[in-house]
């Protein structure tokens, strides 16, 4: 919520709204006819937008009407000017390190009738790094193992998450705590990853991998395509009920854990009779088998091309002629349908439609494998002095959500607790947003956006505020469309949103 410029003196706390010609008189705690402005403690206050505009907005991006290319040539000038909205990012802004001088750009613009100030700078971050999430089930290396580039340790393997392996790269110890070469290589690695370039990493006791933000990882020369829907056992759990009544046995072939439906807890729960089909490998718990084959490029990450190879035997006392058997991989890429003949031999048959549907659904549920790179840095230091004479007030105003932090116009996550430690998905930032200094340290854009009166209140460099139009006319600008999935930075964060 933000205060609108247009208020008149409160008379018995009723506010007259000047936002539009309706001129609503609004009592305390009530909203005007538009539901956009309300009387909050005697102050006219912009409240959350209407449901209709929210819904409309969630359908897609909002772009200025006049900038639309087709269907509007501007030949009929609307009586009221409809300026295209602009937001100045920190990219290329330069910096005033050590920051006792005001930041390079302190820009004032109007948003919904409220004067907003955006302090634009590029931060030099000695305390920074990246968190990399690699969507793969392949073994990349032991937890805590060093991650190296050209032999220099630039970070380490951290936790394995569901379907993904996390790496933590950079940080002050690698940037400035080791040898000069270690710092330089780390800085180069972070710079490349943040600028969405590919980097080859070696893991001590593990794999070599190529990582690039927004691209599939390449592990030991093999690009990952899709994540599994889950392991074989998880696949059984997800789809057991959908197979019930259509198949007598389902075996999900997986290099990690192969699942056997009727033995699996999910099949027991559905009262399915045991099929007597026994698979190779080492039994973990009922219906879950390790090492049914060797790793490879065949079914479910194994080396087999004929799924019946993993069937050890079929128990004649339990199985019955006409029994229907599905074999499928964890990605749905491979599948086969069998019916047992009178000798209890599986004979290939045409897969019925309900089974085909579930096989297709497994494939549909496999998401593309990607590398994601989150840049993480602390802006709690001297950088703040370029924003305000009293730095802790900037920190507090970020915590209080009075100030929105963005990086290259992209939304950031600000960690709770002390300082302004934030993370940003580099994929949502403009290309080549990052630079470096030989310290070594990374240079990243950062913007603080807040109301002009809030800015004055926290000791902002008011004398250095320039108008947005002046910045736009100053030249050396490159214009980029705001990414559709990034919120417009010159709005107050909502209550749910991170500061």
């Amino acid at each position: 919520m933000s205060q609108a410029a247009a208020t008149t003196a409160p008379k018995d706390d009723v506010v007259r709204c000047d936002a539009c010609p309706v001129l609503c008189r609004i009592r305390p705690g009530k909203a005007g006819a538009c539901d956009r402005y309300a009387n909050v403690n005697g102050m006219l206050t912009r409240v959350d937008p209407l449901v209709i505009t929210e819904r409309a907005a969630t359908e897609g991006s909002v772009v200025p009407f006049l900038s639309g290319s087709e269907g509007w040539n501007g030949s009929v000038a609307a009586p009221a000017p409809l300026p295209a909205a602009s937001f100045v990012t920190g990219i290329g802004a330069g910096t005033t390190y050590p920051d006792y001088k005001p930041a390079p750009f302190i820009v004032s613009s109007q948003h919904d009738g409220v004067d907003m100030v955006t302090v634009v700078t590029e931060g030099i971050f000695s305390y920074c790094g990246v968190k990399v999430k690699i969507d793969t089930d392949r073994y990349l290396g032991p937890e805590q193992a060093a991650v190296r580039v050209n032999g220099e340790a630039v970070g380490h393997v951290t936790t394995a998450e569901y379907g993904s392996q996390m790496l933590s790269l950079g940080g002050v110890h690698h940037l400035t705590g080791g040898s000069k070469k270690e710092g330089t290589v780390t800085c180069d690695t972070l710079l490349a990853l943040c600028n969405k370039q590919a980097v080859t990493l070696q893991i001590d006791g593990g794999s070599e991998l190529v990582v690039q933000a927004g691209r599939p990882p390449v592990v030991n020369g093999t690009p990952e395509a899709r994540m599994r829907v889950g392991c074989g056992s998880a696949t059984i759990g997800i789809f057991a009920k959908q197979w019930l009544g259509h198949a007598d046995e389902v075996i999900v072939v997986d290099d990690h854990i192969t699942g056997v439906l009727t033995e699996h807890q999910a099949g027991r729960f559905l009262d399915m009779p045991l099929s007597g089909v026994r698979v190779r490998g080492r039994k973990s718990t009922p219906g879950r088998y390790f090492q049914v084959a060797d790793p490879g490029l065949g079914w479910g990450g194994t080396n087999i091309s004929d799924p019946l190879e993993i069937v050890e035997n079929i128990d004649a006392k339990t199985a019955w002629p006409g029994m229907k058997l599905l074999m499928v991989s964890t990605t749905g890429e491979h599948s086969a349908w069998y019916v047992l003949d009178d000798q209890l031999k599986p004979q290939p048959a045409e897969m019925p439609a309900p089974i085909r549907l579930v096989v297709d659904r497994i494939a549909e549920n496999c998401e593309p494998s990607l590398c994601t790179v989150l840049f993480m840095a602390g802006a709690g230091g001297s950088l703040r002095a370029g924003v305000t004479e009293n730095p802790v007030r900037l920190t507090l105003s970020v915590k209080d959500r009075l100030t929105r932090v963005t990086s290259g116009g992209a939304p950031v996550y600000v960690w709770p607790g002390g300082g302004i430690t934030y993370m940003v998905d580099v994929a949502r930032m403009p290309d080549n947003s990052f630079g470096y200094v030989p310290t070594p340290a990374l240079v990243a854009p950062i913007e603080f956006t807040l109301r002009r009166d809030d800015y004055a209140a926290l000791g902002g460099h008011m004398d250095y505020v320039v108008q947005l139009d002046d910045v736009l006319q100053a030249g050396r600008l490159s214009k980029l469309a705001q990414r559709a999935d990034n919120p417009w930075p010159i709005t107050r964060p909502t209550a749910e949103e991170q500061p």
Binding site: A6, V14, D18, A19, C20, P21, V22, L23, C24, R25, I26, R27, K30, G32, A33, C34, D35, R36, L50, V51, I52, T53, R55, A56, A57, E59, G60, S61, V62, V63, P64, F65, L66, G68, E70, G71, W72, N73, S75, V76, A78, P79, A80, P81, L82, D112, G113, A484
Partner: protein, 291 residues
């Protein structure tokens, strides 16, 4: 004072776009199809500029209840409002009951001036004016509870049918209601008529029950045209007999309006119970109650 704004809403496909016009309490979402769509959008933007200011210039009179004398207004939107509400002057109604639909009709009329469009619609917060060339159709969805939005019904609007307006009223909406309907959706000849009729039918969906809280409209919004009339502020869970009774009063009112030619069809919804009036004519298999 914030000027009228015009923006494109770009669809998920990155190609389709709808025009969003906003000024004060008015939010319009507009889409036009056909060779002259670009010109129609221009005409909509141009026409929109003074809609609110002209309305406001006669606002005091527009907020007065209609009685025996037909009020004379200068503004074209105000005239649409008065005309649409005039048939209901035997009960309490002010021309404001048709403001949303009238704005939609006015903008649509401007868009169609000298243009050829296959179809077009102007959606003013759920009150929709639409244009259909022969053999064209539009699909419209009904959402009964905006806080739990899901499609409660879908109506297919076809060119061969006489309806060119659809409007929804209910106590959960932005305008106050004297009744307790979650939603009353009406098809009528234009959006203004649908708007006025939806208000009247929604007001009629009513019953006395201890769980229903009402407050004078003025206590909620100083400028409300409804004055001291008690408007619904919350409705607790009602027993089925109360739901049936409230809906049956609304259905009778809707049937009256339909016999008078004021509406073609109505969809009434209250706590999960739905009623359709005129379904055999218009809605039939097309308007499918989903919930």
């Amino acid at each position: 004072m914030i000027a009228p704004s015009a923006n494109w809403l770009i669809g998920r496909d990155g190609v389709s776009r709808r025009l969003h016009l906003q000024h004060g309490p008015i939010d319009l979402v507009i889409e036009a199809f056909g060779v002259d769509a670009a010109r129609a959008y221009e005409q909509a933007v141009a026409r929109f500029q003074d809609i609110l200011s002209v309305l406001v210039s006669e606002l005091d009179d527009l907020r007065r209840p209609l009685t025996t004398a037909h009020p004379l207004f200068r503004g074209p939107v105000a005239r649409r409002m008065a005309a649409a509400c005039w048939p209901y002057r035997d009960v309490f109604i002010t021309p404001m009951a048709a403001v949303a639909g009238s704005v939609a009709d006015e903008i649509l009329t401007a868009m169609l001036d000298g243009t050829t469009l296959t179809k077009a619609y102007v959606n003013n917060g759920g009150d929709i004016a639409f244009h259909l060339a022969p053999a064209e159709s539009l699909r419209a969805a009904v959402v009964c509870n905006p806080e739990l939005p899901h499609l409660d019904a879908i109506a297919t609007l076809e060119a061969m049918q006489p309806s060119r307006g659809i409007a929804t009223s209910g106590w959960r909406g932005r305008s106050f209601s004297l009744g307790i309907a979650d939603a009353v959706t009406v098809l009528a000849t234009n959006a203004a008529q649908a708007d006025a009729a939806a208000t009247i039918i929604a007001n009629a969906v009513n019953v006395d029950h201890e769980t229903i809280r009402r407050q004078p409209a003025r206590a909620l919004r100083d400028d409300s045209d409804l004055g001291a009339l008690p408007v619904t502020v919350s409705v607790g869970t009602l027993p089925i007999f109360a739901i049936n009774e409230a809906l049956s009063v609304g259905v009778m009112r809707a049937q009256d309006l339909r016999r008078s030619g004021l509406i073609q069809a109505a969809f009434l919804s209250l706590q999960g119970e739905n009623r359709i009036v005129g379904g055999e004519m218009l809605l039939g298999h097309d308007m499918k109650a989903l919930g």
